[in-house]
């Protein structure tokens, strides 16, 4: 259980985290989403006391992280990929962390196996690939058998096998009743494992919702229909709750509030020939982009990348 109240972090003029209020509950995977620079990492660093909040508080299981007698047993955190001395072996690294808490050597071997590091445990961490480094970080996070597991961009640099491993791990940790809090800047990564979503942008809370709710909200599905006589079709379809748009001179219409099936039936009823009838549902990714559109730090490059590929003006999907 993580409880943030009006959590704020300022670096001089820049506000990295701006009055965040959220609760991460046990027994489920909570995704922490936001574009790069949204303040996700800073928030996580404040949770484990590496950064001191400028304002507000954040507690873990009812207490500030540093106040716990065995912090590694409360929260296991994977922060930046490498928080390891490159000259030390994976085993020595984990052993040193274990010693601070009196965690037995048996548990060190256990997490080494769990993270699939058995064959490289005696190698210097500096020789590890990005994926191996991530696995070592996760082994360290699980060392204290923590109630809360917090991972910052855990699939970065992992191969598909590793990505699947993380997903299985996260779901099983949540199934054991633990609090799982995982950050990402990609909706697609989180949507598959998370039940709950906390979306931030520019340090502010944009949404505190569930995946299902977000899908439902995003699912204002529209239908694209092309016909020789758009004006007549428009008259036929018009009704309460139906919104029709289309450019003058174009044969295409954009209809919301009716299903493709309903439109097809009505058109047939009135003898209007259709050339195209396409249902377009808004993807979770699009819903996320829409939500964070104003909060993206580097706006210019985003639109430049998006423009040539998408024939629709971005606003249409809303």
């Amino acid at each position: 259980m993580i409880d943030a109240r009006q959590l704020t972090k300022r670096y001089g003029e820049k506000t990295a985290v701006d009055g965040l209020d959220f609760v991460v509950k046990p027994g489920s995977v909570t995704g922490f989403l936001g574009p790069n620079g949204a303040g996700k990492s800073t928030t996580m660093r404040m949770i484990v006391g590496l950064d001191a909040p400028t304002g507000g508080t954040v507690t873990v299981n009812g207490r500030r992280y540093a106040r716990h007698r065995a912090p590694l047993q409360e929260v296991g955190a994977l922060l930046e990929a490498k928080s390891v001395h490159p000259g030390r072996s994976a085993r020595s690294h984990l052993r040193a962390l274990a010693l601070t808490h009196g965690i037995p050597a048996r548990r060190v071997d256990e997490v080494i196996e769990l993270a699939g590091l058995g064959s490289v445990a005696k190698k210097r961490a500096g020789s590890f690939s990005l994926g191996m480094g991530q696995r070592l970080g996760i082994a360290a996070a699980l060392l204290g058998d923590p109630q809360t597991v917090m991972l910052d961009e855990p699939v970065n640099g992992l191969d598909p096998e590793g990505v699947r491993w993380i997903r299985t791990l996260l779901t099983s940790l949540a199934a054991e009743g633990r609090t799982v809090f995982v950050s990402s800047h990609l909706m697609s990564e989180v949507a598959q494992v998370a039940d709950h979503l906390i979306v931030v942008g520019r340090g502010r809370l944009l949404a505190d919702t569930t995946v299902q709710e977000l899908v439902r909200a995003a699912d204002g599905a529209s239908v694209r229909v092309a016909t020789r006589d758009p004006a007549r079709l428009r008259d036929v379809l018009t009704g309460p709750g139906v919104d029709i748009s289309g450019r003058p001179g174009s044969e295409e219409l954009q209809v919301t509030g009716l299903t493709a099936r309903e439109i097809g039936l009505k058109a047939a009823e009135h003898g209007i020939p259709l050339f195209e009838l396409t249902a377009r549902s808004v993807s979770l990714e699009e819903a996320f982009m829409e939500l964070t559109r104003d909060a993206v730090e580097y706006h210019g490059s985003t639109t430049a990348l998006g423009a040539p590929g998408s024939p629709e003006p971005a606003g249409r999907t809303a």
Partner: protein, 279 residues
């Protein structure tokens, strides 16, 4: 995979959950393990020992070969078996001081500090443990090196004007003093590393404190020199292993107090930064 997970998670139910706890002695043990699990520790300690013993023997051999010769410089002629044997202290202090800086600043340059402070979020036990563990190791290395250097050095100069044995008044005190000095230099190194959070900056300040500033003292008016010079960390420290009481140098006892004060100052600065700054 999921089997392993379930087994690992079996401890989540309240009664079966092991009662871990962070304690001072445990942090000390962790820092001890961290120190010895790096190859650079062994190499640098070996170098410090080598500097102490080898340079001591070289200085003694040089003295012996110049004995009776007109080429013997005046200062050098007044050497004792002790001063010759401890000739390598300057170099050993650099090796131990740099290793001390690495013990703390190295954690910041590698990112390890995030793991360390997540495990011990109260932070100060980490600094005290690092200073204690490395200070002890540097003390033992320095003492061992000083005694070994004197053992060989005093044999080399036996029969010359510098001849001196372990039983000579003040020799054992000076050799222990040299070890203590090197141990405290190690502590100052760890404090500087934690204060500056950068290996380069830590080493630079260390070298300036122990090697450059003493040389710059000659630029000051001589009346100031006499007032300030004895209290510099390097000079106060040297009085710990200087045999002949020199009016321009502090007594070993007051030298130790002054040097301890410098060490405490460096540690206090490191503690302040550790608590106040984000990691």
């Amino acid at each position: 995979m999921s089997d392993t997970l379930t087994t690992a998670g079996a401890g989540t139910t309240a009664p079966a959950r092991p009662a871990y706890r962070v304690t001072g002695p445990r942090v000390l043990r962790a820092e001890w393990a961290k120190l010895w699990s790096l190859r650079s520790t062994w190499i640098t300690l070996g170098l410090a020992l080598l500097f102490l013993v080898a340079f001591g023997i070289i200085a003694a051999t040089r003295f012996r070969s110049l004995t009776g010769s007109a080429r013997m410089p005046g200062d050098f002629a007044r050497s004792t078996a002790l001063s010759l044997s401890l000739f390598g202290t300057n170099f050993a202090q650099l090796a131990l001081g740099v290793l001390g800086v690495l013990v703390t600043a190295g954690e910041y340059s590698t990112g390890l500090i995030r793991s360390t402070l997540t495990a011990v979020p109260r932070r100060l036990p980490v600094l005290w443990s690092k200073a204690a563990v490395f200070g002890l190791v540097a003390l033992v290395t320095g003492t061992l090196g000083a005694f070994t250097a004197f053992l060989f050095g005093s044999r080399v100069v036996a029969g010359t004007s510098a001849a001196m044995g372990f039983t000579h008044a003040g020799v054992v005190r000076s050799l222990l003093g040299a070890g203590l000095y090197l141990g405290l230099v190690g502590v100052i190194g760890t404090a500087l590393g934690a204060l500056l959070r950068s290996v380069a900056a830590g080493v630079a300040v260390l070298v300036a404190t122990f090697m450059l500033i003493p040389g710059l003292m000659s630029l000051l008016p001589s009346s100031w020199q006499a007032d300030i010079s004895p209290y510099l960390p390097s000079h106060a420290g040297e009085s710990l292993f200087t045999l002949a009481p020199d009016p321009t140098v502090l007594s070993p006892q007051s030298g130790l107090l002054v040097f301890l004060a410098w060490t405490a100052l460096a540690l206090a600065g490191a503690a302040y930064r550790l608590l106040r700054s984000d990691a």
